[in-house]
Amino acid sequence: MKAVKFTYFWLVFLFLYMPILLLIIFSFNSASYSASLWEGFSLKWYIALFSNHQLLDAALNSLILAVSAASLATALGALTAISLYRFKFPGKGYSFAMLYIVMMSPDIIMGISLLVLFITIKIPLGFITLLITHVTFSLPFVVVTVLARLSGFDKHIVEASKDLGADEAAAFRYVIFPLLIPAVAAGWLLSFTLSMDDVIGSFFVTDSTYQILPLRIYAMVRLGVKPEINALSAILFVISLVLVVIFQLLLRKKESTALKNR
């Protein structure tokens, strides 16, 4: 029974990781057709990738977008989380409901509803509309990460700072914000990744003037198997791996500081 369990357990992991591993291995295949069996080690697809200007431009655009969207979403999300945690105000339940809607709605509903809005209020599609969309769908994830951190620490320290004469802004600057740094950083990373990977939301709210990487990849793989995409996917996978490890370390650090605060 134990052996069966063990085998099953690792089979599921094999199912999850085998395709990714194959992709990475075959990005080094020297065969002229990417899906062919192994013919020898070569870096030619990486060289092809780095001479594909369309893809590189799209990658740069995506990077700019993801950094801007993550920064804006983190700032807005952290402030929203703080206001939800600190204050009672009319519209608090409404705020939670809106964040919940974004989190649960399939991406396609977000995409088309924002498209309808942008056309209605006549914002031309491009960088700005992509930015708004990415900030909006990252927002709940930042709020949740920051709220979790906020509910982990002692409310009295904020009150203590007020007793010592700090106003709301000073309490935020000197007490709340320093405690939030790990959660804020984690939220930023999560938003960055969501933005770099998003296909569905972006699909509706951009036109050809601002090409981003996921949409470029989508357009290419729809038509067939493209070896440069293997190389690119392998690179993206390794980057994601590094980001997950950083994220996990940030959250771990959070636990240890939370313990210290107690």
Partner: protein, 279 residues
């Protein structure tokens, strides 16, 4: 001042970019199509009646059934996995959890593409089977419903594992021991104790798999060719190709209603579980 400012900014964003767009889609779904300006202010129920047209009804039913099969398969794969995972020693469990979380951070598009490489006509699976002389002709694996379901299961499996694991981790081992002491066999324990106690996880997982399966239009597009049309593809086509926004909006409202029903079911299960004191 500071307080007003941050509350104001956040309420402004939530209203303008979440509440308002959703309201607009609801409004547009009751308006008429117009070739000049996309939509005219002529109220109608026609868009909803259109969904009952056999062509669209067929898409709705087939995409719901593909999404249902996907949900069922992920549940069958994930259930034993999560059960084993929840009983592992803590160190190994944390490592395994990390391995489950990593796919969340990688692009689902890239992972769909991995499946395409494996299934395509000259792909790895066909070549391997031919090398081993199991088949003589390459099989048509890509551009089938099977390929779409495989892509969906592969992409969405972690979304089933995590809520199941969360429910099973809380499951008190003494319930299982008590069932065993009272003479229940392995199967009976599973059916009468473990499954009912992990119901909130099952429902949450089903929600996280079923809804995206309906909406992820690029998976049917890449793995199903033009043959498999899911609700997401239909909505996308109405907005970008057919330029029939009112009908696309009506379809999207239907998707939202499906979501609402599933959320209500989820809420009810969690409440019943809470009432019984399970969680």
């Amino acid at each position: 001042m500071f307080k007003r400012l941050i509350i104001g900014v956040s309420l402004f964003w939530l209203t303008l970019f979440i509440f308002f767009p959703n309201l607009l889609v609801l409004i547009v779904s009751f308006l008429s199509r117009d070739n000049e300006s996309l939509v005219t202010a002529h109220p109608t129920f026609e868009n909803y009646l259109n969904i009952l047209d056999p062509i669209y009804l067929k898409v709705l039913i087939s995409s719901c059934s593909l999404a249902f099969i996907t949900t069922l398969l992920t549940l069958i794969i994930a259930f034993p996995f999560a059960l084993i995972l929840s009983r592992l020693p803590i160190k190994l469990r944390n490592l395994s959890l990390l391995l489950i979380i990593i796919p969340f951070w990688t692009s689902a598009l890239v992972r769909t593409y991995c499946i395409k490489i494996i299934l395509t006509t000259n792909g790895l699976l066909n070549q391997l089977l031919m090398k081993l002389s199991i088949i003589s002709e390459p099989l048509d694996l890509l551009y089938t419903n099977g390929a779409v379901v495989m892509g969906l299961v592969y992409t969405l499996l972690p979304f089933m594992i995590l809520p199941l694991y969360a429910a099973m981790e809380k499951l008190d081992i003494r319930f299982i021991e008590a069932a065993r002491d009272l003479g229940a066999g392995y199967f009976n324990t599973l059916l009468r104790v473990i499954i009912p106690l992990s119901a909130p996880g099952i429902i949450a997982g089903a929600l996280l798999v079923f809804l995206p399966a309906l909406g992820l239009f690029y998976i049917p597009d890449i793995l199903g060719g033009s043959k498999t049309l899911m609700l997401g593809n239909l909505i996308k086509n109405q907005f970008l190709d057919a330029r029939n926004w009112p009908f696309g909006s009506a379809l999207s409202v239907v998707l939202t209603i499906i979501m609402g029903l599933l959320l209500a079911l989820n809420y009810k299960t969690v409440r019943t579980a809470a009432k019984k004191g399970i969680i």
